[in-house]
Amino acid sequence: MPGHAVDKRDQAWRRVAVAVPYLWLLVFFLAPFAIILKISLADPVIAQPPFTPTFDEHGDLSASADNFRFLLTDKLYAVTYLRSLFMAATATVLCLILGFPMAYGIARSNPATRSLLLLLIVLPFWISFLLRVYAWMGLMNNYGVINNLLIWLGAIDQPIQLLYTDFAVFVGLAYSYLPFMILPLYATLERMDLDLVEAAQDLGASRTRAFWDVTWPLARPGVIAGCLLVFIPAMGEYVIPYLLGGPESLLIGRVLFDEFFVNRDWPLASAVAIVLLLLLVVPIVILQRNQAKDQGDAA
C-alpha cells in the first residue's frame, strides 16, 4: 500500500533525526572520553605519543590506576580541586545575586526596552573574550583606572592591590559568565504569569513573601540552568585565573594545562581531567533527576 510506504519512509527519517545528536555525542564526546580514559591508565614515556600503549608488545593489557592513586596521595590535587570548587561556587552565587534582579527587571520591562536590554546583555560577546579580560587588567592594576579614580577622589592615597588577587578572579568570572545566568533566568521569568504574584498578595502575602512563595519556586528551572551554565565552565576556567589571579591561586584548569604542556605527563593530565569530569557530572545528574521528578509531579 502506498500509505504504508510513506509511513516507513517517515519512520526512517525519524530514526535519522534521532540518530544525529547521538552520533554527534558519540563522535565528539564519548570517543574522546574513551581516548582520555585510555591515556589516564597508561604510564608516561619520553616518546611520541608520550604514553605507553594499552597493549604491550606481547599483546598483554598494560593498564594501571597509578595516576589516580597519585592524585589521591598528593595533597596538592585535592586542595586544588577544592579551591576550584570554591571559586566556581562563589562565582555562581555572585552571578545569581547580580543576575536575578537584572533578569527580573528585563522580564518586567515593556517590550521595546526589553529587546534593547537583552541586546546590551549579549553585546559583550561581540568583543573577543581575551580582550575583555585584558581590559579588566587595565582597569584593576595598581596604576589602572579604578585605583587612579579612587586616589583622585581622595578615598585612598596608596594604590590597593586589586589585580592578581582572588578578588580580581571573582570579578573576572562574574563579569564573563553573568550573561549565561541572566538569559535562562530571563526566559523563565518572562514566561511567568504576573497574576500569580498578585494572587499571592491578594491572599495575604506581602511583596517579599509573594516573591519567596511564588516567583522563586517558579523561577527554579531558570536558576538551576543558569547556575549549571556558570558553574561548569567556571570550574575548569583557565584564562581568567591565569591573567587576573595571583601566582599562588592554583586552580584545576591551570594544573591540567601545566601537566599536559609543561610536564608533558599526558597520563596524569588525563586522570586530572577525568576526575574533574566526575566532579561535574555527579551533581548534574542529581539535579536533573530532581527536575525530572518535579516535572513528573506536575504532569
Binding site: D193, D195, L196, E198, A199, A200, Q201, D202, L203, G204, A205, S206, R209, D213, V214, P217, L218, D297, A298, A299
Partner: protein, 363 residues
C-alpha cells in the same frame, strides 16, 4: 443600608489616558453586583482598585465603614478571583486553597477543617491531592473560587469569572456561583463583557463606557429603561429612529421621524420640548408583524417588506425594510406549529408597537 461599599469620586489616570473617570457607587451588603462594559471601558481598572493593585489618582473607597483606598492588597478583607484563575502551578489543590489561611497564621487544625469544608462546597473533595495541571477548566475555576472564599472576605471580586469556560459549563457554573453567593451571603462584584451573564447573575448592573458609569440599575431597568443610546445599544438589540418632537401632551409625546414617515407615540413625562431632536428606540421582541393593518389608537404602525428572515426554532428573526430604506429588526415567537412559513422574502407586511414599548433616548 445601601452603603456597605462606598466609592466616591474615584479616578485613575495612566499618563494622559483616563481609565476611570470620577465614578461614584454604593453597593449593599450581600449584593451580586456586575460591572458590564466592553474592553478598555475601565471596568477591570475599577476592580483592581477595589483589590488594591492600583492606587486611585483621586477619590476614596470605603468598605464597611473603613477607608481602604491606600491599603495594600494583603491587608484588605477583599479577595479576587482572577480571569486566568492564577492557580499556583507548583502547589496541589489543597495547598492552593489553604494558602490564604496559612498567610493569616491560622492553626493547622483549623486550616484542615476549613479546607475540607470549602472543598466540599465546591465539590472538589476527591481532587485535593491533584496538581493544577491535572484539572479541567471548570475544576480550575472552582479551585480559584474556593481559594478566595476560604478567606471569608467581605467582598469577593470576580474578573470575567466564566469567560474561560465553554458555553454549557458556563450556564451551569452561573447558577453554582449564584447558589454559593446566596449560601455565604458574601458581597460579589463581577466584571464582565457578557451582557447575558450580567443579566442572569446580578441583582444590579452598572454599564460602563469610557471610564464612566452610563447607567446603574437592576437587569430589568437596564434592559427595559435604558437611559441613553450607549446602554440601549450595548445591552441587547434595539431599533432606533431619529426624529423631532412634534407634540407634547400631559403623559405622552409624539415624535415625527423621516425614517418611519409617521408620528410615533411614546409615554412618559419626558423633559422634552417641541421641536427637540431625539431618538425613539424599540426592542425587536416588542414589535408585532402581521399581514393586515393592525388597529390600535396610539400604536405605531408601519408598512414594509421582508428583507431577510431567520428561523431559530423557538422564534423567528425578521429584517423589515421600510419605504425610507430603514431596516427594522423584529423578533417574534413561533407560537403555532407549522412547516410552512408565515412570511416569505419580499412579502408586504405591517409592523406595529405599543406606545409603552417606545424608549425615548435624549443622548
Amino acid at each position: 443600608m445601601n452603603d456597605f461599599i462606598r466609592i466616591r469620586g474615584i479616578s485613575k489616570n495612566f499618563g494622559d489616558f483616563v481609565a476611570v473617570d470620577n465614578v461614584d457607587l454604593d453597593i449593599a451588603r450581600g449584593e451580586l453586583f456586575s460591572i458590564l462594559g466592553g474592553s478598555g471601558c475601565g471596568k477591570t481598572t475599577l476592580l483592581r482598585m477595589l483589590a488594591g493593585f492600583e492606587i486611585p489618582t483621586a477619590g476614596t473607597i470605603e468598605i464597611d465603614g473603613v477607608d481602604i483606598t491606600a491599603q495594600p492588597p494583603y491587608r484588605r478583607h477583599v479577595n479576587m478571583m482572577f480571569q486566568s484563575y492564577a492557580i499556583f502551578p507548583h502547589m496541589s489543590v489543597e495547598k492552593n486553597v489553604a494558602y490564604g489561611l496559612r498567610k493569616e497564621h491560622v492553626g493547622r487544625k483549623e486550616i484542615a477543617q476549613r479546607v475540607d469544608a470549602m472543598l466540599e462546597l465546591v465539590q472538589l473533595r476527591d481532587f485535593r491531592e491533584r496538581n493544577p495541571g491535572q484539572l479541567s477548566g471548570g475544576q480550575r475555576q472552582r479551585v480559584a473560587l474556593a481559594r478566595a472564599l476560604i478567606k471569608q472576605p467581605k467582598v469577593l471580586l470576580l474578573d470575567e469569572p466564566l469567560a474561560a469556560l465553554d458555553k454549557k459549563l458556563r450556564e451551569r457554573t452561573q447558577f453554582e456561583l449564584m447558589n454559593i453567593q446566596d449560601e455565604l451571603g458574601i458581597t460579589f462584584i463581577v466584571v464582565t463583557h457578557d451582557q447575558e451573564e450580567a443579566m442572569t447573575l446580578s441583582t444590579r448592573i452598572a454599564v460602563m463606557d469610557r471610564g464612566r458609569f452610563q447607567q446603574v440599575g437592576t437587569p430589568k431597568e437596564i434592559y427595559e429603561f435604558p437611559t441613553n443610546r450607549f446602554v440601549a445599544g450595548f445591552v441587547g438589540t434595539i431599533n432606533t429612529f431619529k426624529g423631532r418632537v412634534s407634540a407634547v401632551a400631559e403623559d405622552k409625546i409624539k415624535v415625527y421621524s423621516n425614517e418611519t414617515g409617521v408620528s410615533m407615540t411614546a409615554l412618559g413625562k419626558q423633559l422634552v420640548e417641541e421641536g427637540q431632536q431625539i431618538e425613539i428606540a424599540v426592542r425587536p421582541e416588542k414589535i408585532f408583524v402581521s399581514r393586515d393593518k393592525p388597529d390600535g389608537d396610539d400604536d405605531t404602525c408601519l408598512q414594509g417588506i421582508v428583507d431577510d428572515l431567520g428561523y431559530l426554532g423557538n422564534r423567528s428573526l425578521y429584517r423589515i425594510r421600510l419605504a425610507s430604506g430603514k431596516i427594522v429588526q423584529v423578533s417574534s415567537q413561533n407560537r403555532r406549529r407549522s412547516v410552512t412559513r408565515f412570511l416569505e422574502w419580499e412579502d408586504k407586511v405591517w409592523i406595529s408597537w405599543r406606545p409603552s414599548s417606545a424608549v425615548v433616548l435624549l443622548d
